[in-house]
């Protein structure tokens, strides 16, 4: 087993374990912190794949913005942030069965992809992935249209948020 595989297995265990704790813990804020751990694990996966930009953006966006706003919202909502109720429903075994089926389907699909059982090849020396990504985002042959559509969508959301926030003032 190569060092890369050991790292991958450890990271996978970290992600799955944290993800399990997100739903299993009774304290809401602990769930948010376990979610941070799971998201950080995904960032490590990107780093193992040499996708440095994605790894860093994963931390900036998911931990720096989304998870922190989650925690902020959780801290503002209730004083008693513990869930006392039963943690499972009566139909939990159907959900577990469905989950296993989906997992089996995913494994089957991934194994059908040629080269899925090989280790990733090392990136060629001197390849600037950030520059390549930037060029792809604004190149008409690549992703300029989805990129612009997403920008317009975000702009619309921004304008909408400003509108909602400013309506109260006029009353």
């Amino acid at each position: 087993m190569t060092a890369e595989q050991i790292l991958f297995l450890l990271t996978g265990a970290l992600i799955l374990g944290s993800a399990l704790m997100v739903v299993a813990t009774r304290k809401l804020l602990h769930a948010a912190l376990w979610l941070v751990a799971a998201l950080f694990g995904v960032a490590i996966l990107y780093a193992i794949l040499q996708a440095s930009f994605l790894a860093v953006v994963q931390v900036v966006v998911y931990i720096g913005a989304i998870a922190i706003l989650f925690i902020f919202a959780v801290m503002l909502t209730r004083r008693e942030m513990r869930d006392q109720g039963q943690q499972t429903r009566t139909n939990w075994w159907i959900a577990a069965l469905l989950g296993l089926l989906i997992l089996a389907g995913l494994v089957f699909l991934i194994l059908a992809v040629p080269g899925a059982d090989r280790l990733p090849a090392a990136l060629p020396e001197g390849l600037d992935t950030v520059r390549a990504l930037g060029n792809a985002l604004v190149s008409p042959e690549a992703y300029v249209l989805p990129f612009e559509v997403a920008s317009v969508l975000l702009l619309a959301a921004l304008v909408g948020a400003v509108y909602i926030a400013s309506v109260g003032k006029k009353d």
Partner: protein, 405 residues
């Protein structure tokens, strides 16, 4: 390659030879070397941190017209060690009903977020942790972990003041991150790369602080906000929150927060040097003149870098001990209504002018970039003045006229 030209690689090669001579496999030799390198870097940062305690206390004393520590050792230099002994032997208190695990992780995470920044800090062209092509985003990511540490500390302490401090921290960080990220794009555009080595080398002719003085000012302000130092020290606010998020921490756990705050300020001084003042280089081409080749020696470069970083740290302290604390609504309004639009305008101007002027000779390019910044600053000041005048007129109209007798 000798020790004086390339110390780190020299030691690494020597170690590789030694370890493989002992029959250690190549992979393990590499792992051992990296582990030793990381430990050495962290030890260097932490030893520097001990010195910073003394610098901070001495400088604040000077700003407040006092002498500062002067009893233990020459100039009070041994004072930090006395401080550390005091912190270590203090009773370690965990508040009742505190969330113990989170409470204990928070100080470690705070220190981690700062020390991880040292991975990308280029001490010299041949002494650095890693040269990433996403270094500037990494800077923002490490800041996010610091925020997380403060939230965890504030929440797990089971103390209202600590929680209010944590709330303020989130409002502060989420807002001031935006102008900071926008301004980080300016060195990126000017140097055409996000790697700190590339940015440093791009400034060997001319500092980015000259090409974009306004960018530096905005970065300076948002760095102070990110550090949570005065005038943005609402997270601690001794007079209203006693000490904010770290009020319940005692002994060395408080020490970790304190040490990471000092080291964070120094690290941001270093990033100011890297992004706007040429980092370890930036001698305006002097190193290429015959007789000045020694300027590119890694030890000279490290000394230059540390001196520039120390100056940045001193400037941060200068602001901290001269400015009163701002109110939270003022702080947020200043960010959203002033800094964000201004930095966006600056970014657009810089991006367009850089592409247009880069074909000109260097001095014309520099004058053009500098002039554009001056125009933006003047325009902003004029708009603010007009706005202030309008508000004053409105106030005068509302308030009753003074009675003449």
């Amino acid at each position: 390659m000798t020790f004086w030209n390339d110390p780190i690689n020299f030691i690494a090669n020597w170690l590789t030879g030694l370890l493989t001579g002992w029959g250690v496999p190549d992979l393990w030799a590499t792992i051992i070397e990296y582990a030793l390198g990381i430990t050495a870097l962290i030890v260097f940062a932490m030893v520097l941190d001990i010195l910073l305690v003394w610098v901070e206390r001495k400088v604040v004393a000077r700003f407040q017209d006092r002498l500062g520590p002067n009893r233990i050792g020459p100039f009070g230099l041994i004072q930090p060690f006395a401080d550390i002994i005091k912190l270590v032997i203090k009773e370690d208190i965990t508040p009742a009903n505190a969330d113990k695990v989170v409470y204990n992780i928070a100080p470690v995470l705070a220190a981690t977020s700062v020390i991880s920044l040292w991975a990308i800090l280029p001490l010299s062209s041949r002494i650095f942790g890693v040269d990433m092509n996403v270094a500037l985003l990494y800077l923002v990511a490490a800041g996010a972990l610091g925020t997380l540490a403060i939230i965890m500390a504030g929440w797990s302490s089971n103390n209202k003041y600590a929680l209010i401090g944590a709330f303020r921290m989130v409002a502060n960080m989420v807002s001031y991150e935006i102008p900071m990220v926008i301004i980080l794009l300016i060195p990126t555009i000017l140097a055409d790369t996000m790697s700190v080595q590339g940015i440093t080398q791009a400034q060997s002719g001319i500092w980015f602080a000259i090409l974009s003085p306004l960018g530096f000012i905005i970065f300076f302000i948002s760095a102070i906000a990110e550090l949570g130092r005065s005038p943005f020290d609402l997270i601690e606010a001794e007079s209203e929150l006693t000490a904010g998020f770290n009020v319940e921490y005692s002994g060395m756990k408080f020490g970790w927060f304190f040490a990471s705050e000092l080291l964070h300020a120094f690290t941001f001084g270093g990033f100011m040097a890297v992004l706007f003042f040429g980092g370890y280089g930036g001698f305006f081409g002097l190193e290429k003149v015959a007789g000045f080749g020694w300027l590119t020696n890694p030890f000279v470069e490290s000394a230059v870098f540390l001196a520039k970083a120390m100056f940045g740290y001193w400037a941060i302290m200068w602001v901290k001990y001269s400015m009163p604390r701002v109110r939270i609504d003022h702080m947020l309004a200043f960010n959203w209504k002033f800094l964000v639009p201004l930095s966006l305008a600056l970014l657009v101007t810089t991006a367009i002018l850089h592409k247009l002027l880069i074909v000109l000779p260097t001095w014309q390019y520099a004058v053009g970039m500098f002039a554009s910044n001056v125009v933006i600053i003047t325009g902003t000041i004029e708009i603010l003045r007009a706005h202030g005048r309008k508000q004053r007129k409105a106030e005068e109209k509302l308030s009753p006229q003074p009675v003449k007798n």
